[in-house]
């Protein structure tokens, strides 16, 4: 085989090696990921309660969802998590990583402080945050507000404030992850680029705009897409922080994945659960492809 390979053109050789390297992964991904996904697509056109036969029902599950006002509310919530969470978390993460990168003393400790929240379990943290959101004198935030003479806020007990109140711990928990990726990206930029720019007399703002940000683009692409996916798939925290795991009050915080979970495991309605999964999949794919296009390496 090696003699056959050595006779091929460079491009052919590359392709052959690529497929050799990809052979095992493709088999694995097909079995463990693609097949279940295809199954979910076919299930979305069926009625199935986990036992007994599946009944083909065409688009009935989708029609049923479209007619359900709660589904539209859930979809709206899901986008709200994304629209608020993406810019805030990436902005914070970048600023923190950028500053961390420049700090000389105690960098290790500081980095650990920012990363620690990412290490803990959602159940425990949800309870702590619920405690923080309590009314005064128990709740930390309302305690602070009353120090400044600001009126008490209901936070989780308000249809308007509950979603942002759930989003804050979500951003908090993911920040460590994003900071680490940005840091890895920043560290990968050769010092010599900066030194050359400084010799040329570039200011730090100019260096940021003309060297750091463009060279950080692959990290940005990665974080835009993974953060969007994370926010659109938000589940654990909402399940643990809202009363009874219902995504309340009045569905104000319920995201799509919680709705999928309830359809599948509380009602054993796999058809509706799968239809929502397909909708989530299409949204995520569209957003990811769009972001990749917009942020394409220039």
């Amino acid at each position: 085989m090696s003699t056959w390979l050595s006779r091929q053109t460079l491009a052919r050789k590359q392709a052959v090696w690529a497929w050799i390297f990809l052979a095992v992964p493709i088999v694995y991904f097909t079995a463990v990921r693609f097949w279940p996904a295809v199954d979910a697509f076919s299930l979305s056109l069926s009625r199935w309660n986990l036992v007994g036969p599946r009944h083909f029902v065409g688009l009935e599950n989708y029609r049923h969802l479209a007619a359900d006002p709660v589904f539209w509310q859930v979809l709206g919530n899901t986008f709200e998590y994304l629209a608020l969470g993406l810019p805030i978390s990436l902005f914070l993460a970048f600023v923190i990583a950028y500053q961390l990168d420049r700090v000389r003393t105690g960098q290790g400790v500081l980095r650990a402080l920012y990363f620690l929240p990412h290490l803990t379990t959602a159940t425990a943290m949800a309870w702590v945050w619920r405690w923080f959101y309590q009314p005064a004198p128990v709740g930390l935030f309302n305690g602070w507000l009353s120090l400044f003479g600001i009126a008490q806020q209901p936070f989780l007990r308000s249809t308007a404030q509950a979603l942002p109140a759930v989003l804050v711990p979500a951003i908090w928990a993911a920040l460590g992850f994003q900071v680490v990726i940005f840091l890895a990206g920043l560290k990968a930029i050769p010092r010599s680029y900066y030194e050359a720019a400084e010799i040329d007399g570039a200011g730090s703002w100019q260096i940021l705009r003309e060297i750091t940000l463009p060279l950080l683009l692959p990290s940005f692409v990665f974080l835009f897409i993974t953060t969007s996916i994370g926010l659109l798939r938000i589940f654990d925290l909402v399940y643990n922080i809202t009363a009874g795991g219902e995504g309340g009050p009045l569905n104000a915080t319920k995201p799509l994945v919680l709705s999928i979970y309830q359809s599948a495991f509380a009602r054993m309605d796999m058809g509706t659960a799968s239809a929502q999964t397909v909708i989530l999949f299409v949204i995520l794919l569209a957003i990811s492809l769009l972001q990749m296009r917009l942020l394409r390496q220039r």
């Binding site: 290790g108 923080f132 990968a188 692959p218």
Partner: protein
Amino acid sequence: MKIVRPGRVIGFTLLALGGIVMIMPLLFMLVTSLKSNSEIYELHVLPREPTLGNYIEILTHSHFARWFLVSFVVAAVSTVSVLFFDSLIGYTLAKFRFRGSGVVFVAILSTLMIPTEMLVIPWYVMAKSMGWLDSIWGIMFPGMMTGFGVFLMRQFFAGVPDELLDAARIDGLGEFEIFWKVALPLVTPALSALAIFAFLGNWTAFLWPLIVTTSPNLYTVPVGLASLSGEFQTDWEMIMTGSSIATIPTLLVFILLQRNIVNGITLSGLKG
């Protein structure tokens, strides 16, 4: 000779303050775990009589050591597999020009878009037909490669200069050797980051380990912790204690590996 710039001082101070705010919920968790159950609901934050009773209770009255072992095996094996395969796939997708590479990449990326909640039922059927139910391999088989890691590694391999690889080809190195000996060392920061995330992801995974195991001696730490809180039971001091203990290994892995991220590499940069 360094000049201390005021901007840096402000930056450092803000960063330190932000860091303290970041860990406040964790301190709250830690402090709660040191309270006895009659004190846990008191409004004062610090325990009057700090006690390790909850820790002793958990460590002696549950199979915590066993859960730790299972979790560690699962996380370690998965991490090794993920590091190897995800970087190989990421490298191939970033550095080889071939028809279909875009399709393969988007297909792998798209695996991130199906929530785990919808995968567990097909996985269970698969595990049963393969005889993997209630086994350690059953817990870890879905996490041997991840779309996430492939994506991460592809982004970072994209920054490795082609010239270096071509030079290695001219030197007569095989394709796998080029990947293993030339390309991989150049992305150590990303590899370390991936190791942290892969370990962490497996360490905290809950739904699938819960579903595939029936024997308590195969519980992972999160599943074991969940078994501590039953119907209508809210022993929060125990949950805080368990979570505090569960955080320790991930913290150690982070401390161990973060240095690699920081030291970075001087050879190459990520190319835009």
